[in-house]
Amino acid sequence: MKRSVAIIQFPGVNCEYETARAASEAGLEARIVRWNSDPQLLRGFDGYILPGGFSYEDRVRAGAIAACDDIVDVIRQEANKGKPVVGICNGAQVLVESGLVPSRDPGSVELALAPNRGMGRLGYYCDWVFVKVSCEPERCVITYDLDPGEILPIPIAHAQGRFTSSIPGLFDKLEDAAQIVLKYCTPDGDVPGGFPEDPNGSEHFAAAICNPEGNVVALMPHPERSAWLRQVPADLKGKWSQRRRELRGKWQELEGKGPGMGVFRSMRAYIEASLS
């Protein structure tokens, strides 16, 4: 039996279809659910993905208005039962603004996804970056089927992607609890020396942070944009681009899985493990 995930379509998101496609390719039954649907409808799903985009046009702050929607409360209740929730980019901003991540003090807003810092200019930044699995794979829903220390090339596209907090020592605690599950890195997996390997100045180079239980993850990069090999640029460093170069012109093989597919595959494996 296929496990089902709801892709939540807030007004203004724009990645729901690619996200649904990637989740389907990973073996999940993905269905796009509008933000104002009957909340009870949501309860039947095995997991939830909040896709990227600009919910409510980023009014007030990215993710701030969507975080107040009733549907987020239903997702919170389902997450409390252990169901997985993954927020991608704007979805991550919604999870942070709603207090679902990092949830050391449940319900409290402990983080911000602040404007990017360090790139020498203002605003939105789009590029391929490298992230490294920085926890044991079983730690959380998006790393479950990845290898320890695995390095993934993956696109980012955000203006406000810098994980930060005014709570003293919070990031050390998140580090100690292995809640920082993906970190920006160099193509070789080393600590970034600065921009562009570190694209936004995120504290502890955090690219994804989970809740203490590991079933809710705020992920800034876009795995759905690197879910197929054909999406990976041929001119990056690392094994994924090398593979992409080797398959130049072999169209069918380029439809094979890309680095981002591991995130969706992990979600499926996590759901199956938690339900078995």
């Binding site: 919170r76 602040a114 005014s166």
Partner: protein, 192 residues
């Protein structure tokens, strides 16, 4: 010499509608009767006279769309302690209390970027600093004490549906009554 440029949309502002709807319908704060958003620029100028400072600001607003766009915005340049004319803004609900919430990004990347353009590309060296903020004016029914409590509650997002306008980890919020704002007390508190 300090001036504040208040900028608002000529057309109805969807941000204000969204904030009002969120606070009333999702937070249940039906005492909030109106929300108005202004983008504001706080300019600090080093000029001998107020008239020369205003001439620089008029030039900036008249010749560039750096701080406001005449196709979509209207603006009012305010000296400290100056009232806001009715033609620019007036309370829409008589008898309500008006509270002002100024939200400033801790990094203020927008303000710093504008300052760089003004100094380096336009060569206006008299402008010593530019700070960007979003100013919310909330018209709140009920007594002043309760209204202040509501304004303070919505200013900073601390828990789910408890606070909205500023995220305390990347922004600061200054809250005061309309009179306190007009007397410059919000900014004195910020400097303190």
């Amino acid at each position: 010499m300090r001036f504040e440029i208040l900028v608002r949309l000529i057309v109805p502002d969807p941000w204000s509608f969204t904030v009002l709807d969120t606070l009333r319908r999702k937070f249940g704060l039906t005492e909030i009767e109106e929300a108005t958003r202004f983008r504001t620029w706080l300019l600090s100028l080093d000029t001998p006279r107020e008239s020369s400072a205003k001439a620089i600001i008029d030039r900036l607003l008249g010749e560039t769309a750096l701080l406001a766009n005449p196709n979509r915005d209207m603006w009012f340049v305010r000296s400290p302690h100056e009232m806001i004319p009715d033609s620019f803004w007036r309370r829409s609900i008589s008898g309500s209390e008006v509270f002002v919430i100024r939200v400033i990004d801790i990094d203020d990347i927008i303000g710093r970027a504008r300052q760089e353009v003004v100094r380096q590309r336009l060569g206006i060296t008299e402008i010593k600093s530019i700070t960007f903020s979003t100013l919310w004016m909330l018209e709140i029914a009920g007594d002043s004490k309760r209204a202040r409590r509501i304004a303070e509650e919505v200013a900073v997002a601390r828990r789910w549906r408890k606070g909205l306008l500023a995220n305390p980890h990347s922004q600061k919020a200054l809250v005061g009554s309309l009179d306190e704002y007009l007397e410059g007390l919000l900014d004195e508190r910020a400097q303190a």
